[in-house]
């Protein structure tokens, strides 16, 4: 049965995609998008890329134009967080109460920080963070980045483009090695050094103290790195605080079945806040990628309208991209589970290459740099050989 009113909490990539898909599938009831940020819904990937370097501006990273929402009868309630979920009753911070027939949880995640934030000890998750960082990054500013993951690496590249002096600190011996293997990870760290970024690996940040106008970053091995500005790129924490007391199963994210349903009837979760069950892996996984957010949104919208979601070939295959130093890195599938790799295009010493990842003789992933077609054309093949990793199997 089709609901009469749907409330989506979290007005970003996943939430907006659910709203659009509901309308596309013919849903005619009331549709409300609640978001705590005051800005009209915007896209996050540019925050560490073109928005940070000033190549694009906030009004150009909007997910949709204002008329899009009015034309489709999507009510936006922005600048107000939801503070409580009780069954399908959603309470907002300003006292308003919504009582729809279906609730979609799309509250995303926030950045893990290195301590009480201050203007010179920051994270990068939202538009305001990016604009703050951009204002502070000028020629010669000493930026210290804790964490060499995607956001750290992209921020390093963008900050170098602005002329900042950049130090990148990574706890592991090589950033990305756990995800993409040693060879590809080595190829990805080279551009940092060539661009003049100081890369310190194998030693996590222990503490950051401010003294005499300088941020002093203490590393586990005893080194101290001085900076004007410290950015933590240490991963994210799902925004589930408002769900305390709701009775939902919350671990690393809101636990859902393989189609986004939670244990509460009429309540689904999508995007960075959601940990969907992955039958192939035998566990819940919280994907934090743009594409997973939109794919999950389509599944949930179909589900809410009582339709069985159409199986999309290749859906469910994790996919992410990252733009660094003018090159695009893409990864598809589960390269982290591979027991063999093959370079199938270019070479790891060059700018452009593609690597295939196999396990027990089956193709389970593909990744590359500036080789979009060489990576992406394997998506169907990667799905065609779904990876039946049992919880007790594997190594």
């Amino acid at each position: 049965m089709s609901p009469r009113e749907v409330v989506i909490v979290g007005a970003s990539v996943a939430g907006v995609a659910v709203a659009d898909e509901l309308r596309r599938l013919g849903f005619e009831g009331r549709l409300v998008l609640v978001g705590d940020e005051p800005h009209p819904p915007y896209d996050r990937p540019p925050l560490s890329k073109d928005l940070l370097t000033g190549r694009t501006e906030p009004d150009r990273i909007r997910l949709r134009e204002p008329a899009h929402y009015t034309d489709r009868g999507i009510t936006l309630m922005l600048g107000v967080p939801a503070v409580r979920l009780d069954g399908r009753r959603v309470e907002l911070a300003d006292g308003r109460v919504l009582t729809p027939d279906a609730v979609v949880i799309a509250t995303g995640a926030r950045a893990r920080s290195l301590g009480e934030p201050r203007p010179t000890l920051v994270t990068l998750r939202g538009l305001d963070d990016a604009l703050h960082l951009r204002r502070r990054l000028a020629d010669g500013t000493r930026l210290v980045i804790a964490g060499g993951g995607f956001i750290g690496a992209e921020a390093a590249a963008s900050a170098r483009a602005l002329g900042a002096d950049v130090t990148l600190i990574e706890a592991a011996p090589l950033p990305f090695a756990h995800l993409l293997g040693d060879e590809m990870a080595a190829a990805l760290v080279r551009p940092h050094r060539e661009a003049g970024v100081r890369v310190l690996t194998g030693t996590p940040v222990q503490r950051v103290d401010r003294a005499g106008g300088t941020e002093n970053v203490l590393l586990a091995d005893g080194q101290v790195v001085h900076g004007d500005l410290v950015l933590a790129g240490l991963g994210s924490i799902p925004n589930t605080g408002w769900l305390d007391g709701s009775g939902l199963d919350i671990g690393n994210g809101v636990r859902c079945d393989a189609t986004g349903a939670t244990a509460l009837p009429g309540v689904c979760a999508v995007g960075d806040v959601a940990a969907w069950y992955e039958p192939g892996l035998g566990r819940h996984v919280r994907h934090e990628h743009w594409t997973s957010a939109t794919e999950q949104a389509r599944t949930v919208a179909a589900r809410l309208l009582g339709r069985s979601p159409k199986a999309v070939p290749g859906a469910g295959v994790p996919y992410f991209w990252s733009d660094q130093y003018g090159a695009r890195i893409q990864s598809l599938g589960n390269p982290e589970l591979a027991d063999e790799t093959h370079v199938v295009h270019g070479s790891l010493d060059e700018g452009s290459f593609a690597v295939l990842y196999g396990r027990e003789g089956r193709l389970i992933g593909a990744a590359g740099r500036d080789a979009a077609a060489h990576v992406m054309r394997h998506r169907r093949a990667i799905t065609a050989a779904p990876f039946p990793l049992q919880p007790t199997g594997g190594t």
Binding site: W290, T291, T294, E295, R298, V312, P313, G314, Y319, W321, R328, Q330, L332, A372, A373, V375, M376, R377, R379, R380
Partner: protein
């Protein structure tokens, strides 16, 4: 159905090619190219999936009005 690409919007993510590799390819300039302009049946479904998967909404599907 007729498939076209808004080349100003396309950023070369190749998401289209990953769901509809028979309908799209990437040209050397990393802009998507349409291989089958009037897809039918299963390929038409794939083209629709690709339009939904494109991060920049660069794929335009037009109804054939004849």
């Amino acid at each position: 159905m007729r498939v076209t690409i808004d080349e100003d919007k396309c950023c070369g993510y190749a998401a289209c090619l990953s769901v509809a590799e028979k309908v799209f390819d990437l040209a050397a300039d990393n802009i998507a190219a349409v291989l089958v302009e009037h897809p039918q049946g299963e390929l038409a479904d794939q083209a629709r999936e690709a339009a939904a998967a494109c991060p920049t909404s660069a794929i335009i599907l037009l109804d054939d009005t004849e």
